[in-house]
Every structure is written in C-alpha cells, then in structure tokens.
Symmetry: C2
Subunit: 377 residues, 2 copies
C-alpha cells in the first residue's frame, strides 16, 4: 500500500528546518522547490528530465486542468500522475489564483467564484467543495483549499474581507476533504496581505481548523521583498511548527534563501521555467541574459562545474544562437539549466541546515551572486 502523508523535521538551524514529507508518491526532501507543470507538463521537458534536475514534487494547476482536458477525464485516464507520466509527488493548487488572474467576468460570492473560461468563454463555478473534488479527481498528493488572493497594495478592509472569506472556505474545504481517499493531504492558506494582525488571525484560525500543512498566500503579488520577508517573520511563528510551511508562488533564488532562513519548507514558482523560455539563465554567478551580443562568440559553458550537464556542455555562443534563432531547444536547455540551479540551491540549503551551517552557506551563495558573471576576455 502507498504511504500516507506525513512530515518530519530532521534538523533545524535557527528558524530554518530540513526534513521530509512522505506522500503516496514518494518522499519530498524539504526545503523543496516545486517546478510548475501548469497544463500537465513542465513546459518543454520530459518528466525524466524534470526528475533528473532533482525535483521530488511538481505543482499542477487546477484552473487549467479543470478547463482542459478536464478533471473527470484525467481521473478516468488514471489520474494526473499517470496522465503526464510523473510517478512522483504532485501538489495541485485550488484554481483560485488563476481564476483571479486569467479568467474574465469573475464574481466572488460567499458560495464560491463564478468566471468565464479564458479558453472558450464557458461560465464555470468554483466552490471550496468543487476545488477539493477536482483535486481529488486529479489524484493530487497534496491539495490546496480554495482561497481569495488580493494584489498588493490593497485597502485593509479589502484584505480583511478576502481573509475572512478564505477562512470560511478553509472550513468548508476541510469538511469536503474528509470524504477524500485517505493518505493525501490538504493545506490551508494564510491570507491577510501585508497586515500583521490579519495574518496572525488567519494563521491561528487555520491552525484551529487543523490542516496537514500551511501555506502563505497573497505574497509576491506586487509588494517589495522587504514587506514579504517582514510578513514571514510575523506569520511563520504562528504556524504549527510540526507541519510543512509552503510559501506560494515564490520566487527568485534570493527569495528562496531568505524564506528558508525564516522557516519555509516548500516553494513553487514559474520563474525558472518562464525565464528559461525567454532566454534567461539562473547560475551560481547570478542571472545571465543569453540574448546579449557578448555571448555570440563565447565558447565557455554557463557553469563548467554545475551538476547539470546542459550547463556544463553547451557553449554560451550556442545558447545565444538558439535564443536569437527562437529555437525550441533554447527553451528546453535553459529550462533544464534553471530548474537544475533551483534544485541545486535547495539541496545546498538542506545540507547546510543539516550541518548547522546555514549562515555560512548563504554567505557563500551570495558571494557567487556578488561576483557575478564574468564576460569573455
């Protein structure tokens, strides 16, 4: 029988923790970065390649999958793991975030949110119960409650309204999830924007309901990094220490380091994949824009000592050529290189926390970024 969801902390260093999440589809070493597989694929990469980058878990987007190809269809085909040939863990979001950012004519009510599909204009309703049902059909190892995420800056009244609505939806999600197959997990989502009191209230109320893990939503939505980090400083101590803490939609390599230092265990973000498709590489020496003419004759690889073969093998000149020529392989190689770098960073953080040397490790990472990329002579 498949394992049931559990989380254990192996070591801590300050507020930072390293541990493992057991899921029905394998173990996730934390802190973990989840590549985004929006439409049942991490854009351009075979599942084996995503795994080879070091990922234990992917994120799937409920909003996209419910509209196309449809949750029931995926269930009939054996679930999302089988559909996309990814036998490892999958977390699905609730769909709420994309309803807000992608769909038209959305209308939020206590009952749920009604919207028009961005694909064909169909009117669709998403409720907390339906979001749980869809994620159960997809077969997610970790499901997320439906919440309402507000862009920052926003008036306090608006933040409070969305936070209270998200709390009500959290309760209904929990009840709906009690009927889901055993072994899987449901995470609650802390809202409250940049308001300390609302955040703390949200965190405490969610803890009272009781979830398998706690996510912090509504950050990295337009606010400065300092506001995000201050919010983490305030909120993380209010979360159950023995449950995973997931910072949604974050972030840059620096965001990851800062958040791990503050006790975050899980992340997802489109930056490494989306930026890869747009010609930007993340490396030990900072971000490198491959389109720049300075790379055109540069025979050096992006990082000759990277654990990622693509970063060691292909010259900057070749990557520059592929980007300029708008070749598919540019997206494939740079997505691989970026996901590998993100996973390398997470592995480094895990090892550093286990060794009690997080401060030293972060300093060494910053040293590489500060050195920066050295142009060819």
């Amino acid at each position: 029988m498949a394992d049931v969801f559990s989380f254990r902390i192996i070591a801590t260093d300050g507020a930072a923790r390293t541990g493992e999440i057991v899921t029905p589809h394998g173990i996730v070493a934390t802190p973990a970065f989840m590549p985004v597989g929006t439409q049942a694929t991490v854009k351009g990469l075979l599942p084996d390649a995503v795994r080879a980058c070091g990922a234990d878990i992917l994120l799937g987007n409920t909003y996209h999958l419910m509209l196309r190809p449809g949750a029931k269809r995926i269930a009939t085909l054996g679930g999302l793991h089988r559909f996309m040939n990814w036998p490892h863990a999958i977390l699905t979001d609730s769909g709420g975030f994309q309803v807000m950012s992608l769909s038209e004519l959305r209308k939020v009510a206590d009952h749920g949110v009604t919207f028009r599909s961005h694909l064909d204009g169909t009117l669709v309703e998403l409720t907390p119960e339906r979001a749980v049902e869809i994620q159960t059909l997809l077969g997610a190892d970790i499901a997320m409650q439906l919440d309402e995420c507000v862009k920052l800056p926003a008036p306090r009244a608006e933040l409070e309204r969305a936070m209270r609505l998200s709390l009500a939806w959290a309760e209904r999600s929990k009840r709906a999830f009690d009927q889901a197959p055993p072994g899987r997990a449901l995470f609650g989502i802390v809202q409250g924007g940049d308001d300390r009191d609302l955040r703390i209230e949200s965190a405490r109320a969610l803890t009272d309901i009781g979830f398998d893990g706690y996510a912090i939503g509504g950050l990295a939505v337009g606010e400065p990094q300092a506001v995000m980090l201050r919010t983490l400083d305030e909120v993380v101590p209010a979360l159950s220490a023995d449950r995973p803490h997931y910072l949604m939609g974050v972030g840059t390599p620096e965001d990851l380091i800062e958040a791990v230092t503050r006790g975050i265990d899980m992340f997802d973000c489109v930056l490494p994949t989306r930026n890869g498709r747009h010609g930007l590489a993340f490396t030990r020496f900072g971000a490198v824009t491959l389109k720049n003419a300075r790379h055109a004759d540069d025979p050096r690889p992006l990082d000759e000592s990277s654990p990622c073969a693509a970063a060691r093998t292909y010259s900057r000149a070749y990557l520059h050529h592929l980007v300029k020529a708008n070749e598919l392989l540019a997206a494939v190689l740079l997505t691989t290189i970026n996901l590998s770098y993100y996973q390398e960073l997470m592995a480094g953080l895990r090892a550093a926390i286990a060794a009690g040397k997080l401060t030293d490790y972060c300093a060494s990472v910053h040293e590489g970024w500060d050195r920066g990329d050295i142009p060819a002579r």
Copy 2:
C-alpha cells in the same frame, strides 16, 4: 586519426543495397535517413535524443548557418559538431535550395547566385567555391556541390539551362574541394527535372568529373510520386554503383521504401520533424492526427510495441491534450516518435536487404499501413 570517407556495400537485393559509409565522425549504416538540423539543432530535441532515435548522421543547412550564426564563427568555436554537441556524422547541403525557396531578390548568374538574406536583407553572394568554403568551415563530413534546383513542372529549356549550370558548378566545386582537409567527401548533384535525357546526361557528366557520392536533386518539388519513381528508375542505373546514392529532400515513409528498392542509400526530409510539430504522428499503422477529438479519451499509446519509449508510454489522450494546448512537449514527443519511426523503417529495410527479403519486408510494412490506425471502441 579520424577515419577517411569510404563506402562499401554489404549486401544487395534487386537494385536495393545495404552498406556503410565511414566518415571522420563515425559509421553511417545505409540506407540512412538524416534528420534535418536546420539551425544547428533538430528542433526541440537534445542531440542524445536524436541519437537514441537511431540516427547516425544529421543534415545541416548551409544557407541558415552562413547567415546565422555564421560559418566563420562556427569554425572558430570548433566546428558544427562541437557547436551543437553532435559527435556523429554531418552532411551539409550547399545552401542553393534555400536560396531559391527562402531568400528575396535572388539572381542566378554563371558565377553564382546573389540574394538578400531573409533575416536582415543583407546582400549575399553564394558561388560554388564559397559553398565549399562554408561547408569546410562548418566541418561537414559530407559536403554538397552548389546546384540550381528547378520546381516542377518546368519547360525543358529551363531544366536544361539549370542542369548545365549545375554541371559547370559541379566542376568548380570539385576543384575548390581539392583544397579542403582530407577525409571528407563531396557529392555531386544530378539535375534535369523530369526529362530522362537531361538526367542521364547529368549523371554521366558528374561521374566523369568523379565525386565521392551522387545525389539526385530536383525531385519531390511538386511532381507526382510516379514521376519521381520513374526518374529514379532511369537515373540510378547511370550512377556509379560503388558510390552512395542520395535522394535529396525525400520523403514520406512510402517514398523511402520505393526509393530504397530502386537503389537509393541516403535521404533527408523535414516531414517527420515538421509534421511532429504540427501534431501528426507517423506509425506502423499509418499517419495519426493527434488533434482529432477521437483521441481525447483514448488511454492507448500510439504503438505499444514500438522501440520508441515515447510511442509506448504516453496515451493518445495525453498527446491530444498537449497538441490542443499548444504545449512544447507535444513537439518534443511527436518529433521523437516520428524520427524513431523513420529510423525503425530504415533499420528494417537494412535488415531485409541483408537477408534478401526486401519484398517480404515491404509487403509487411504496407500491410500495417493498409490496416490503418484502429480507433478506440
């Protein structure tokens, strides 16, 4: 030291032959299909994946590479093999065909062809000598003479003019190639359209000049398949039997079988790669259009007994979803599946010729195509 170019025939069956071409970058089993790597990449695939499909040799497009990133630049970076991380054999075309099909304001004169780059409008001249020089800079194992290819149907006078010009360019190409590094090969190109006498004259004159191999150009350019096959029946016997015979730009799986039966040893074509990017799969049971709604709920793979993992692993429903969602992975998987099928077909032809069972093999291949793809119940 790297091997020098040679060709030997291992077995024949009727007019068909199987053998091997030795190149400075490895052995090419013939009959061989060369995937097209236009801009120093087979679109969407890592070189290892192309190799895993069974390819011994790739085709590179001189026209594209000379304009971007530039032949001299590739030479400085160590040559095309190193640039694109493909350590196996490479054949480059002369650039002539793309000059005719892609560039603007082209002007053909005895000296060569002048055209405007489709990228930036720069005025460029391509002569037989320059085409050899560029291919030498790229480091091609097999270079092609510059020729003029005429679309069919065309008046005889036009076919004759282009054939004679191509012959004159063949002589100049040969002289220019005598200064190229040893070990590599130069192929002449038979022209003459659908005119038997012109084709025979072209083939004989090229043989008198003496090339390492002989290509048949100017076919699959608008004429019915029957005209192409009749031309092969007429031309191939006029080619040196002990040199490779290369049918340029061909073709469908059926074209390949018919041409191999008539003594062709080498092919290149964009069909498996381009059609793959447009949602069409080549299989043992004919072509399958994955976009069709009938695949939406079909859990079966494209071919459960294919040697290609992608054809065995992913459901039609998943491939359909990726195609509909315009996902990069659709192109990656279908290109892989198509190139694997083409290589599987070539391997089957080689084995059948070696066993003296070509007729039986072709009949069994046709049996699969005639059965066709069976829809889900």
